[in-house]
């Protein structure tokens, strides 16, 4: 199947830019915490030099905070690296579980800004599929974005992965405000192009308040 490369390219660039901007914000925030923690340690040291007693627990707390933020930045950069390398191969055998984990990680800031909780328990076993990794990440993000916008009062989006007839399936639930999206084209153009390229299928089950993405295993031809 031929891809609509103009739409795929535009959507992909937009997706890459959005995620890169979010990553840079996250790193900035972590650096800001490290900056204040290091600054407070310096403040306390200066006070100690003047003979003002410093509680050792305060020092432990601040150094612990720095270590925690360094780990946070390391996780962010690992995700950034995986994300950047997902463009390397147009078709690759990947673990869908890891890909969903990555997209959830990349989306966590967007979810937090919307007050939405992403509930995702990765299945214990890998689920290997052959696909275009970057297009799949883009499509998963668009589905997640839609699910978050229709999350409703519960403000929790659950992500579930299971096997489908051909390939695998990712389900997003609950969609409590589907009527709010009436009149909105769905799936939107970039989603349609990504679904065609990935030989995927998208289905809204209003009864179960669920968005379901089925992903085929066939490669995309240029």
């Amino acid at each position: 199947m031929k891809g609509n490369w103009e739409v795929l390219g535009g959507a992909g660039l937009q997706f890459f830019g959005k995620m890169s901007a979010s990553i840079s914000h996250e790193i900035k925030n972590a650096l800001a915490v490290i900056n204040e923690s290091a600054g407070l340690l310096e403040d306390l040291s200066l006070r100690a030099e003047k003979g003002i007693p410093v509680d050792p627990e305060r020092l432990k707390k601040q150094s612990g905070s720095i270590v925690k933020q360094v780990r946070r930045v390391d996780d962010i950069i690992q995700n950034m690296n995986k994300f950047a390398h997902s463009i390397d191969d147009p078709v690759k055998t990947i673990d869908l579980v890891q890909t969903v984990t990555l997209v959830v990680g990349l989306s966590s800031r967007f979810a937090a800004m919307r007050g939405v909780v992403l509930a995702y328990q990765p299945p214990p076993k890998p689920m290997m599929i052959q696909t275009n990794p970057f297009f799949l990440e883009n499509l998963l993000w668009l589905c997640l974005d839609f699910a978050m916008s229709t999350a409703g009062t519960a403000k929790t989006v659950n992500l579930l992965i299971d096997s489908a007839e051909r390939g695998a399936r990712v389900r997003f639930t609950p969609l409590d405000r589907i009527p709010d999206t009436t009149g909105r084209e769905f799936p939107e153009e970039p989603m349609k192009a990504l679904l065609a390229a990935l030989q995927g299928n998208l289905n809204i089950d209003e009864g179960n308040h669920e968005l379901s993405l089925s992903i085929g295993a066939a490669p995309v031809e240029r």
């Binding site: 900035k28 800001a32 915490v33 600054g39």
Partner: protein
Amino acid sequence: MTTFRVLLVDDEEELVSTLAERLSLRGIEAEWVTNAEEALRMVREENYDLAILDVKLPRISGLKLKTKMEEIDPGMKFIFLTGHGSEDDFKTGAAEAGAAYYLVKPVNIDALIRKMKEVIESEGGVP
């Protein structure tokens, strides 16, 4: 030293609590919250000279929160903290929304205190 009362609002709890402690060590009365709802409650219940707001807060932008806080306390002054890559990135939209004072994270505490004094001493809050 000029004394004033400041409310810090940022969803990064470790950032906002540590910054408040550092300001307190410098004689500035600083309180902090991590969301807009708490910030509005605090402004209703207490008097602050100044609020330092993160540009991006959960469910609301810092600029919108500023408008809501001004409705409660029209005399309040504001400084924004942004995680944008550079000040230039932030300038365009923020200036239109009346966010005249802002600093890019991570902030230098001395620069922040200088900016706080500048804002407090300005008559209309906008230079």
